[in-house]
Amino acid sequence: MIQLQQVERDFEVGDETVRALAEVNLEIPDGDYLSVMGPSGSGKSTLLNVIGLLDRPTRGEYILDHTPTTTLGEEQRAALRREHIGFVFQAFHLVARLSAAENIALPMVLAGIAPAERQRRVQEVLQSLALSDRASHRPDQLSGGQRQRVAIGRAIVMRPGLLLADEPTGNLDQHSGQEVVELLEQLNGEGITLIVVTHDAAIGRRARRRIRMLDGRIDSDEREDAPA
């Protein structure tokens, strides 16, 4: 459960204050599938960063699973990110010197999970992503679609309740993009809350709930029951 109450975020640009988010009120129940669309600079990435606890709102309150987060310290926010939130980026952000399996294991390394348990969970994730035969490949030996699948594996290996995808298909061709979106939707079908920020109207339309941002405000918020 995600609750944003009157959230605002200001950036200082030179001696000017730019309001990237203004009076954002949002409630996202568990297991929802949400797309955020809007022109460049409309505040969609800022919204995603605030929800992902990478950024702090200037004003307002953000409650994640009944925990108010704005007063938490850096260590506690890092712990929340680790346990509850998975990120998928446009540029994949895999660590080039680590193999696919090691990239997926990275959040568990940071969390201090024992190697045997890590090994088991990485195998599990690789299998579910059909990447078992790519486990020891480095990112530069993988195709774009495979890289994004490894990144998704890394995002879900800690079994978070919330998956945040920032333009997940932006660097992919049509076919791989389709595969990645289907994978994300399949994860959503298994119960994870999915928020996708995208420029692509075709991908945005697939979500059950669609938010349009304009000048830092929520311009429209449509809900449509899934065809299923």
Binding site: L54, A78, R81, R82, H93, A111, G112
Partner: protein, 401 residues
């Protein structure tokens, strides 16, 4: 985060960034090696001088005729006094239990000749005890005979170089040499290589002290070497020597006593200060190496901004990022320090092979201190870049801005 994982992650990023790693290892190892080598130089000089003095014996007192009248002047090496310091004075010192050995010495220059060869050398007149006191070894033949100090005997022990000049490779034992107008029979040759405080033992000859006094026609001794029965007894021996001479010289203190130990102590202090100075200079060079480490780490931080952002997005906290970068800095400093120790060890070995006479060796504290300074430099100069990395805003870091 578990320690093995922390080490594995940092090790991999160290191996990955080869140029950066090599640069830092170079800086650190040169810094550490220079500390150890410079200290070894200073320490070597100290040991050399101390060794020279110890060859003379630290339980030694030197008695000179005459007395410094005012403080501050040098002791009268060729003092003139109304009362001679005689052989009888010297031998009387042996009555004190704190004095083990006494060697009266009379010195002069005289030509020594054999067949048509002649050399002008230093003639030392003394007794049999001169040899153990000065730790002089006889190579061939015997030392001076064990006769009363005031009895003459026409025997001579030649220095190794002098023997070679006069006799070449022939056996000199039992042959006669001429010193001034007297004839002496050769009974021994000193072992080669002897040198003490710049005096070449090879270029001298030793005869009984009474014969030397007759030869040079001087009733006074040049000096008396006194060996205390133990190092602790040296002060008691000094008091006893002064008391005995005063008794024999009608209550006048007309001799000067120098202790070998006092001179040694002074030199030791001077050279130790020198060593500390030199290692201080080296420590500064190590600090410079530390600053280089900091620079390279700062570059590393800016190169790895996206990675740091990623780590934070994946749930890494500021503390973890800080720890990662600090571990990296310390591992690098430690590895650099080890290489530096290895290099300096090799250099010391090499110098010792080339110049075995110079005791070139680092004192134990030098590598320990160098490694400690290297590690703390790594830590201190690693903190700044690591903190910068840890404080990065993950959003901006990920976008590579």
């Amino acid at each position: 985060m578990r320690l093995p994982d922390l080490l594995a992650l940092t090790t991999r990023s160290i191996i990955e960034a080869r140029t950066r790693t090599l640069l830092m290892l170079l800086a650190m190892s040169i810094g550490v090696a220079s500390v150890v080598l410079l200290t070894a130089l200073g320490e070597g000089a100290r040991r050399y001088v101390v060794g020279e003095f110890e060859q003379l014996g630290t339980d030694l007192l030197i008695m000179l005729p005459g007395r410094t009248e005012t403080t501050g002047g040098p002791p009268p090496l060729f003092g003139q006094t109304p009362r001679d310091l005689t052989i009888a004075d010297a031998m009387a010192l042996l009555r004190d239990p704190n004095i083990l050995r006494v060697a009266p010495i009379s010195v002069g220059n005289a030509p020594v000749s054999h067949a048509s060869l002649e050399r002008e050398v230093t003639i030392v007149g003394s007794t049999r005890d001169f040899f153990p006191i000065r730790r002089i070894q006889v190579g061939v033949g015997r030392q001076l005979p064990d006769i009363p100090a005031d009895r003459q005997s026409n025997v001579i022990v030649l220095g190794a170089a002098l023997k070679k000049e006069l006799f070449g490779r022939h056996n000199p034992l039992g042959r006669w040499v001429r010193v001034n107008d007297r004839r002496f029979r050769v009974i021994g040759v000193l072992a080669p290589g002897g040198e003490s405080l710049g005096t070449d033992l090879g270029e001298m000859a030793i005869i009984p002290v009474a014969s030397a006094q007759a030869l040079f026609n001087s009733p006074s001794l040049f000096r008396v070497l006194i060996q205390a029965s133990a190092k602790e007894d040296i002060e008691a021996a000094r008091q006893a020597a002064i008391r005995i001479i005063r008794l024999r010289h009608d209550g006048e203190d007309d001799v000067t006593l120098i202790s070998q130990d006092a001179m040694l102590g002074t030199f030791d202090r001077i050279l130790r200060a020198l060593t500390y100075t030199v290692s201080g200079i080296a420590a500064i060079s190590l600090a410079v190496a530390g600053i280089l480490i900091m620079n390279v780490m700062l570059v590393a931080v800016s190169q790895r901004v996206p990675e740091i952002g990623l780590l934070k997005a994946l749930g890494g906290s500021e503390r973890q990022v800080l720890r990662l970068f600090l571990t990296e800095a310390i591992l690098l400093a430690g590895a650099g320090a080890s290489i530096g120790i290895l290099l300096s060890g090799l250099a010391i070995l090499l110098v010792n092979q080339l110049y075995p006479a110079f005791p070139f060796a680092a004192p134990l504290w030098a590598p320990v201190a160098a490694v400690a300074v290297a590690l703390s430099a790594g830590l201190v100069f690693g903190v700044l870049p690591a903190r910068r990395a840890a404080r990065l805003n993950p959003v901006q870091a990920l976008s590579g801005r």
